[in-house]
Point group: C2
Chain length 212, copies 2
């Protein structure tokens, strides 16, 4: 029977042993390597091309994210699943940005871990249960408390239209006012938001998710 090969990357030997032990109980999985740093991980991976790499985030030397990024840049087909204690939002988002194939928490139940590992090997993206909320949250519209409230309706309208690439003339036509008035609104909203140009305004709108 074909076994899936796994590389463990973590600078805590005890933890590696624990995970290795757990995996050894499964006869379709096999730990073919254990390393304690990002550099070793990369070296091992290019040589042995494991099916899956379980990668700790917090390591001395190359950070987990850097390692992930390096692995993904190299021509490596191994799935790389982050295995971390951190449920920190930016860590997760970073990992995602670098195309991790999963993000599992170290305090997962053993059965869950094994199950998710199996899923990851067949190409599914896996993530620990408690993190789904964080993922979801980061997709949500920002809680707006901000300076946007200092803008008048018309100014917000103008801002949105600027961000949609409209010229002053087009905005004027759309709002049924003169171009002169549009300019007034622009000037005021630029001042309120501390912007120098409509391009900056457009970018501001994007950042603050103000758009049609």
């Amino acid at each position: 029977m074909k076994q899936a090969s796994i590389l463990l990357v973590d600078d805590h030997p005890m933890l590696r042993k624990g995970v290795a032990q757990l995996i050894s109980l499964e006869d379709n999985l096999k730990v073919i390597g254990e390393v304690s740093s990002g550099d070793e991980a990369i070296a091992f991976a290019v040589k042995n091309m494991p099916d899956l790499i379980l990668l700790d985030l917090n390591m001395k030397g190359l950070s987990g994210t850097e390692t992930l990024s390096a692995l993904k840049r190299a021509n490596i087909t191994s799935k790389v699943v982050i295995f971390s204690v951190s449920d920190n939002e930016t860590d997760i988002l970073q990992a995602l940005k670098f195309n991790a194939d999963g993000y599992l928490l170290k305090d997962s139940e053993p059965e869950e871990l094994i199950e998710k590992i199996n899923h990851a090997i067949i190409g599914e993206f896996v993530i620990s249960e408690p993190l789904t909320q964080i993922l979801a949250k980061s997709l949500r519209p920002q809680n707006r408390v901000s300076v946007i409230d200092s803008l008048t309706q018309r100014e917000v309208e103008n801002l949105k239209l600027i961000a949609s690439g409209k010229s002053n003339k087009e905005i004027a036509r759309k709002l049924g006012i003169t171009e002169a008035t549009v300019k007034v609104h622009n000037k005021n909203l630029f001042k309120k938001l501390g912007l120098k140009s409509r391009v900056e305004a457009a970018m501001w709108a994007v950042e603050h998710k103000v758009s049609h």
Copy 2:
């Protein structure tokens, strides 16, 4: 013992019955209402304020999303969990945008459903297992194959600087070339990307994640 109250919103009576039956097996949950449209859902919710609303997406009349949006706009404390057959990405994203408290698939296992419902009631965001991948995917950087490859180095540089709000003069200074040359690059890149102005260029850069 305190029971959590649930409102079912779905235009298929049979399905409602099935879910109601399932829920009735749990003694900490209680279905206090079943309705078949968004309007009824809103009316019921404001009057009886259930702890949880299970909301179908595909309904006649008010769509699920509209209902969700209306519920969230009203001063309603009920958790609203989408209960749908659709694993369509845009549906999920839309629901998220309107701050749904969860998104469950109708073909979930009964036990999973009950478990997730319980989690949702205590305020956790819940989502059916198979959808985590979709969530994750939508957070990832876009697969770039695109037109950006048709741009020259200089054009890309210009584009990035435009997107950072720089004027032509500033770009010229930064790149050590004349403003005239900057304009040439702009003109060419606008043409290649089919853009009318630097604002559109900035927005294009955002969409295609081309930035410094």
